[in-house]
Point group: C2
Chain length 214, copies 2
């Protein structure tokens, strides 16, 4: 049994990760902006810490084996990078807690070797929301610079959809497809692959990706 | 007259920047780990704030027009990047204060287009100190991602030596040489170029470099 903190626990990825962690018998600390919302979602199954994600400190994570950064915002894309930098800064030269980051798919590579991000930018030039995939790609680059922290990161597929755990496959840095040829993963499958990685680490200081099998 | 905070004010670059700022009539806040040392160096010419650089907050910089990150350490090279990320995170979406970063020369380009860092790594493979030029190159990359903060950065030359302000030239992203063909700049000349940049900005969200003229 591990003690797993989840920043952004009430969000799309975060809530699936909390559910999977609890289902596998782990203890969960939900680090959230809105404690009332977390209480409604999780009742007494988790410990709730209400704080601004960007103000977290070591005091928020006492005794935790893993901290999952499932923070997401559509307002200020640079906050994804800022939170990653803050967490890394808190745990330089520590093997524990392990830090886990939910990235986007933008930093995955396509079959022709180009980044998914290049495709996204080509097709959506000028759209405000592309700031998020841009910053999440920076976040991944920042992590690749980080040798003195025990981190792992996971990218979903191009489509990251709410849905149950079914069956999944994992990969490394390339976009993947399901049996129907679609790059898609459910929140349940991503959560299951991530908790499995905590239980048996394979991707130490690496990023991996998850795809629906069917 | 500007109010200029200098993190690492008692260090090699920092102390030259404090001296130049005072000589040009600016007000200085010395942000230092060791207040006693700062008092011995600067007497009552500056306001002293004693704090761990990596714990600075907006409260340390009230009313400041510019914050200079002249922090340097030989122990934990990743702290250079962590402090830059912290300062950037504090002032996202602000035009003021301006943030100024003293980088190394490693992120400058040589005549053949390669980074100085490549040369440093080739000649000093395995040396512990190369962590600093590596992290300072990352710090520059991090800044190039930063579009919503009013930053400027300055790289010295390959040789960055204690010495007075004499005459200098500024450049952009390439290593430069003095009249004798040496890539060298004094702390006094770097400080003079930096304070001049604060007084009349030319390099908004850019890095520049300074070389001794003679």
């Amino acid at each position: 049994m591990m003690k797993i903190a989840v920043i952004g626990a009430t969000g799309r990825a975060g809530s699936a990760i909390v559910a999977e962690a609890l289902a596998r018998g782990h203890q969960v600390v939900a680090v959230v902006r809105n404690a009332k919302k977390a209480q409604q979602m999780f009742a007494n199954q988790v410990t709730i810490r209400q704080t601004d994600a960007l103000a977290v400190s070591q005091a928020d994570f006492v005794g935790c084996d893993v901290i999952v950064d499932a923070f997401a915002t559509r307002q200020e894309a640079t906050q994804h990078l800022d939170l990653a930098a803050r967490l890394v800064g808190l745990y330089r030269n520590s093997e524990s807690p392990r830090l886990a980051f939910i990235l986007g798919a933008s930093s995955l590579r396509q079959a022709d070797g180009s980044l998914v991000l290049a495709d996204v930018l080509a097709k959506n030039a000028g759209a405000a929301w592309v700031a998020t995939p841009i910053q999440q790609a920076h976040e991944y680059t920042f992590l690749t610079w980080t040798e003195n922290v025990n981190w792992v990161a996971v990218s979903p597929q191009f489509n990251f959809v709410p849905g149950p755990k079914t069956r999944y496959r994992v990969g490394k840095d390339e976009i993947m497809t399901n049996a129907a040829g679609q790059s898609t993963v459910t929140t349940g499958n991503l959560a299951a692959a991530l908790i499995a990685e905590f239980e048996t680490p394979h991707f130490v200081r690496q990023r991996f990706t998850v795809v629906d099998d069917e």
